[in-house]
Amino acid sequence: MKRVASTLLSTFALPVILIVIWFAATRQQTSAFVPEPVSLVKTFGEVWVGPAFTEQVVPSLIRLAAGLAGAIVVGIGLGLAVGYSRVLRDLLEPVLEFFRALPAPVLIPVLMLLIGIGDAMKITVIVIGCMWPILLNTVDGVRATDSVLTETARSFGFTGVSRFRYLILPAAMPRIMTGVRQALSIGIILVVISEMFAAVSGLGYQIVVFQRTFKIPEMWSGIVLLAIIGLVLALLFALVEKVVLRWYRGQREVENRGG
């Protein structure tokens, strides 16, 4: 009971303090561009609860999910191949470094010309931007596979697909999850940016529309909604990670206790 109380306290202490400061600072405010907490909460409800959710938020979420799924498939697939094959690594590494240095948003104008302004463009941007942390982490994870484990698998005749399935993929999983976590936050950034460029729906589009029409509290409420989406995604990710990497957490805990 005492522990629950202290966890609650440490989790909510800073947010509460910040909101109180915000409240105090905006009580007698004059700037029309900074909202006060109460009206923001009210606006939030008015703007996002109702049809706006299905019309603006759901399309964004679908694009994000599709882009992330694509990035995970491409990133892990390519990462396993590059991490496993020395030839492929030597061949691709310089090229990969070059493309990785390219910020994904600059691809938006190019992709607009190539595949239009539809969902395909936005999803492609997310896939390309989110793929890198997953790809590079997977490569590292594959390369760090324990040598004794590798020899064990070889001695029991694990080759080809079964080698990936039973050894390489699970061994690289902790690093892959690190990559996916990084990809999540990049994904949110890219979905918003791609919608700001050319779109008729989506959160990014809606926020820009509010800003251009001087609906300032509405604009702020969109930003808050983005933060909430990010938080929910992070929580979902933590849940998935807890299941997928149960063995890894347990092993680490045992090692720390022993050493």
């Binding site: 004794v148 484990l149 070889r154 001695s155 029991f156 050894l167 347990g250 092993q251 045992v254």
Partner: protein, 277 residues
């Protein structure tokens, strides 16, 4: 008649195996020229001073390394990769079990990979875990177990695989003395019950004499065979009784002397080389 022929032929023959590593452009000769044979059903220990190329030799036999020259024959066929009839137990139990699989799956997965039918798999895994006394821990993860129990899982995995020959690379070097004695008896028991051939690498002289029917002593690197000694102790072995037998002490003495000789030989050679320069 054909049956008798195959039984008499050696199961494993190591023929003039030589292994030279190249590290940083320098060639290091780990194994110079090794030749020996193992008969079907034999329990042999390879003993040698630490760093004498035992592990290198074992990996050549297991098909994990390719010898620079010479060859390894298993059941009349040259070994060019890990053979189906062989299982290996490594020293580093903590790194040779899959940490993402439970005990049961760890033992099962090589059989799954070999496409053994499910019912058969279940029987083999249950028998193997029973043989090592781990039937109660099938749902645990390896890292939840003690070192000795982890090595038992590795042994269970090896025997469930139904190998004709079991290679063990200093399997008990990292467990405590009491566990070690238990595991030694376990390996003896498994060997006698299943009638498999065991090649056991160790640097522990007592262990080699206690376990084996035959002790092959290696020289320091570059490795050659120093001596091949038959252990004429009774088959029934007991940690206390066997180890206090006069014959055990004699054999132990003999092995110890040979290892010392191997070390002295290496030292003398080094002094000679140093004197030349």
């Amino acid at each position: 008649m054909a049956d008798t022929l195959t039984t008499d032929a050696p199961l494993l023959s190591v023929e003039h195996v030589r292994k030279v590593y190249t590290t940083d452009g320098k060639a290091v000769e780990a194994v110079r020229d090794l030749t020996f044979e193992l008969s079907r059903g034999e329990f042999a220990c390879l003993v040698g001073p630490s760093g004498c190329g035992k592990t290198t030799l074992l990996k050549c036999i297991a098909g994990l390394l390719t010898p620079t020259s010479g060859q390894v024959m298993l059941d009349g066929k040259a070994v060019s990769g890990p053979p189906k009839k062989m299982a290996v137990v490594f020293q580093e139990y903590g790194r040779s079990l899959f940490p993402w699989m439970r005990v049961y799956e760890n033992v099962e997965v090589p059989l799954k990979n070999a496409r053994v039918p499910k019912a058969e798999r279940e029987r083999l895994v249950a028998e193997a875990l029973d043989a090592v006394g781990l039937s109660h821990a099938t749902r645990s993860y390896p890292w939840q177990l003690s070192g000795g129990m982890q090595q038992r899982v590795a042994i269970a995995r090896a025997i469930a695989y139904q190998p004709e020959i079991l290679l063990m690379d200093e399997p008990f070097a990292a467990v405590d003395a009491q566990t070690r004695a238990d595991l030694e008896d376990l390996v003896r028991e498994v060997w006698r019950r299943l009638g498999i051939t065991v090649l056991f690498v160790t640097h522990d002289i007592d262990e080699s004499v206690y376990l084996a029917q035959r002790v092959i002593m290696l020289s320091t690197s570059p490795t050659v065979i120093q001596k091949d000694l038959a252990i004429d102790l009774p088959d029934e072995r007991d940690q206390l009784e066997t180890r206090s037998m006069p014959r055990f002490i004699e054999l132990r003495h003999e092995v110890y002397e040979q290892i010392q000789r191997a070390k002295r030989g290496a030292a003398a050679e080094e002094t000679a080389v140093a004197a030349e320069h």
